[in-house]
Symmetry: C2
């Protein structure tokens, strides 16, 4: 498991996205990767790169982001977890730490990522205990239309219609393995999607458009057109706001890579 | 319902206690009462006192604090609610607003207040999505001992043992109407207590002591002694931290005063 005197440790991370300018290190901005690298440097005495399974945007939460970092071989995963949790700020937390082969790469080895998006339809979703963690819409959504929208998504196709315009993308084909709307308690609806990859802002554009269908502002046919003809005239609705979005789980091919069941 | 050209409006409030130095206005400190009075002044053009059902300490949350404030008679309760929610900071929210008689007093008319305290026994309670809203203990508690502790509390007696030392108290007798520990999902335990009144820090001293009994650090007999003999030698455990505590509901004698069922 060691390369020279190093050990590679996989971390399963929770973070409250509100206080971060996203995952990736940026000069002079507070990011999740940056906060973890700072603490790793404090406890090991050397700057070490923390690799993530993918970037999350500013304001987006995680209950199952996966990252790796190398530690000196005298460190065990459980000691690393304790030291990180003792020093990390309160809005990022290591749920689990595990030793993985040095060759493991959290991004290239991932086969699927699951995101969850919460939409609050009840007035109570605007409470300070819920509003930071959902899109506090406060309007009813028609269950049948939400579910018919989600049922259109599984399969392999171009999702270019649902990508931030003008963003360079490495390929536009994505395979959606699962997509469903389920009740979010008495507060609203949660959309869960699992795909091999995503284009930039894709989940938020999908949710923004499906919510407009669900509240009767657009026809379901417009969603069909966006999916079937990325070169057509149709445009998406604005992206749903980041505070409703969670990176919930990252899957790897070998069972030994699969993190514990996620908790939301 | 009006005295002269004023109307009295009752507000049911949620707030995330983290950002506040408690309920009550204090010079140069951010308080819930202060934030609401500032917004009321902005929308009515005059400084007006917001009366609360009682103070909550720094860091304590509410999902059912009750307050009143007078508005010019041209204001309806629903217009006041909308205007307040549009301008209040995101960590305080008006769930409900209702016109009440000018003579109504949210503190003196209250017959009971319900508090809830969440203790996280699962490791997951340390996640950034739970830790600000519970005591993230991370240790198992014995259900039988918690429940035997709570069963000792109902009735009328001096709770002086469970009050912050040296604080002047207007009387030390309290009537606990209900006290129970129930599961908090998979995350831990929630303690609910309803009483006509409380001494300063009383719920947090009770929880701190019951938790020490539940994790085997103290004998249940010590809790019995503290309750039966306020002049004895026994001392409480340290108070449980404020972030686990919620003011959940305030009850009034007339059904017309009773706010909607609380939500946590």
């Amino acid at each position: 498991m060691h390369a020279g005197d190093e050990v590679r440790i996989l971390l399963v991370l929770h973070y409250d996205g509100r206080g971060f300018h996203g995952w990736q290190v940026q000069p002079d901005l507070r990011t999740v990767q940056g906060e973890i690298e700072t603490v790793v440097e404090r406890i090991t005495g050397a700057r070490r790169t923390v690799l993530g399974s993918g970037r999350t945007d500013a304001g987006v939460h995680a209950t199952g982001q996966v990252a790796t970092v190398s530690f000196p071989a005298r460190w065990s995963a459980s000691r690393a977890r304790k030291a990180l949790n003792a020093l990390l700020p309160r809005d990022v937390w290591v749920e689990e730490a595990r030793e993985v082969p040095m060759a493991f790469h959290p991004r290239y080895d991932a086969v699927a990522r699951t995101y969850r998006y919460r939409v609050g339809t009840a007035a109570l979703s605007a409470s300070p205990f819920h509003r930071p963690y959902c899109w506090a819409l406060g309007e009813a959504l028609e269950e049948g239309l939400l579910k018919r929208g989600a049922a259109l998504l599984p399969g392999t196709r171009s999702f270019r219609s649902f990508a931030k315009a003008g963003q360079p993308q490495r390929g536009e084909m994505c395979t959606v393995q699962e997509a469903a709307w389920t009740p979010w308690g008495d507060l609203g609806w949660a959309f869960t999607i699992r795909a091999n990859r995503y284009l930039h802002h894709m989940v938020r554009y999908l949710v923004g458009t499906m919510v407009d269908v669900g509240r009767g502002r657009r026809a379901l046919d417009e969603l069909v057109a966006l999916l079937e003809d990325p070169d057509g005239e149709a445009t998406t609705s604005p992206p749903a706001p980041p505070e409703g979005l969670y990176l919930e789980r990252v899957r790897y091919p070998s069972p030994s890579f699969v993190p514990s069941p996620p908790h939301a």
